[in-house]
Amino acid sequence: MYRLRLWSVRHSRGLERLYKWVEGTMVALDPLFSRLGYDRVERPIAFVERNVKGLLFDCEMCGQCVLSSTGMSCPMNCPKQLRNGPCGGVRPGGFCEVRPWMRCVWVDAWSGAQTMRNGAWIEEVLPPVDRSLKGSSSWLRVAREKAAARRAAPVRSRARAIVARAFSGARRNEPASAPLAEEPTSAVNQEAQR
């Protein structure tokens, strides 16, 4: 919802804290998820994530959440889906070039970032979205990434390795933006499977 989305940006500091807590909980639950199988928990968790983040951020379930790096303003709501800042077409007053009635997602992102503890993350160059992950849970992805990093799991995908290297700063802050851990079947090309 547009209004709620704007509210979220105004309360970016509090939501950043909440988000960190959710993420921490997911990471802590990794042993449980592993036992149950990430493949099996994917759909129920994605369902919850879709509804919560859909309400607060107009989340599009790109599966590679970077809200902590974008002032809690979801960049997938930018009509050009820019991940690295506003385009050159922003209208006077900070309105969108393509949808003139909407505030520019990135003007909001930059103001949201000002109050956040990790506001400086907005300066990190983020990688392009991996479109095959659309519809999957970003929370679970972070849990897998952090657990895999702890285990120093081997990286099997050459494509993922080069993106993670080329965008190493983004990966440090937002592991789900350039993931390396192996994906469960249910987390890839979900949209296509439906």
Partner: protein, 362 residues
């Protein structure tokens, strides 16, 4: 059959750029030598005739270091940037290959960049692109798979790591001088310098800005750029162009994305007896003011439908200081008489050694 015998004019081997250069392009050399560079935009023809491209390029080549070939700017369909660049580079002109993220995904873009490089293209300009809605075919599907900044990093990876985003190796990586755009006069004004820093971080080596008509805003932007030390890390070419009339200026302001023209500029055109001449005068004055701003490395002239004025504007502004851009030597030769290398390479790689740039490698 040997490879080169298939061509009337044999291609040379893909050579490495001189030390400290990314591409060795004419534009890069001029900038690294600390000279005030001049570039201009070519209006792409709606035609399949190569002669139309050469005709548009000839008057520009006399006065610029590189010619920008726009990539369906304003989402209007014209001859492609890669087509124009390959014609012009092979005829010996310095070109800037503009790549917009609006129309092509990462597979198409990476492949095109290799193709362009093979045809002699050395400068690229990474753009996000205007939305399809403002163009001549608003029903088209917008792509935006990458954004200008991830595009920069992708091309930097191709060049420096010799690999596609898929990790697959590129046996002969492209030598590219990477550029990006910046729009210092539109919101969020306070974050524009930070966004510029992000572009540099992603790989931008030179910047061409959108039209500058508001000097106080541009000066404030440049002051912040200098405070951040960005003028030492990137070459900034400020965008300038002649306005045809007050009406045209108003139309541009409300219909072309990202154009900011202050009211006093429009009033000046309104009062003028010959608005066209006044627009030209204004462009010359802007160039002269811009040249005095610390940290500006050149100007980029965009003269949509006023191409005939470009040469006068540049010459009368005096920015070339009697220098004859190397493009001028090419302008009179027949198209196709050159190989894939940019003309004048021999001359200036030699002169490079005798003229070390005091600014070093930026």
């Amino acid at each position: 059959m040997s490879g080169s015998s298939e061509f009337t004019h044999p291609f040379q081997a893909y050579e490495a750029p001189p030390l400290g250069h990314s591409s060795g392009s004419r534009l890069e050399r001029v900038l690294r030598q600390g000279r005030f560079a001049v570039t201009a935009e070519l209006n792409p023809p709606d035609s399949a005739n190569a002669e139309d491209v050469f005709e548009a390029a000839r008057p520009l080549a006399e006065v610029v270091d590189a010619i920008n070939a726009t990539d369906a700017s304003g989402a209007n369909c014209h001859m492609s940037s890669i087509g124009i660049c390959s014609l012009l580079t092979r005829a010996g002109y310095g070109t800037i290959y503009q790549i917009s993220c609006r129309d092509r995904n990462r597979i198409a873009i990476q492949g095109d960049v290799l193709g362009a490089a093979a045809m002699g293209v050395k400068n690229v300009l990474c753009l996000t692109g205007d939305g399809v809605g403002v163009g001549d075919q608003p029903g088209a599907k917008p792509v935006f798979d990458l954004d200008s900044i991830s595009l920069l990093r992708a091309l930097k990876t191709m060049r420096d790591e010799g690999a596609f985003l898929s990790g697959r190796k590129i046996s002969s990586p492209p030598h590219l001088f990477l550029g990006a755009a910046e729009n210092p006069c539109v919101p969020p004004l306070e974050w524009r310098p930070e966004r510029l820093r992000k572009k540099i971080e992603a790989g931008a080596e030179y910047i061409q800005t959108n039209y500058i008509f508001d000097m106080p805003v541009f000066e404030a932007f440049m002051a912040r750029v200098r405070d951040l030390g960005l003028d030492k890390k990137v070459f900034i070419l400020a965008g300038v162009g002649p306005l045809a009339s007050a009406r045209a200026a108003r139309w541009m302001r409300s219909n072309v994305p990202g154009i900011h023209i202050p009211e006093h500029v429009i009033e000046r055109l309104e009062k003028a007896e010959k608005p066209g001449e006044e627009g030209k005068r204004l462009a010359i004055e802007l160039i002269q003011q811009i040249r005095e701003i610390k940290g500006v490395a050149g100007v980029h002239v965009m003269a949509y439908r006023r191409e005939h004025q470009v040469s006068d504007i540049i010459l009368e502004s005096g920015v070339l200081k009697g220098r004859r851009p190397e493009g001028s030597r090419r302008a009179r030769t027949t198209p196709g008489a050159r190989s894939g290398r940019e003309a004048g390479d021999e001359v200036s790689s030699a002169s490079m050694e005798t003229q070390p740039s005091d600014e070093g490698v930026r």
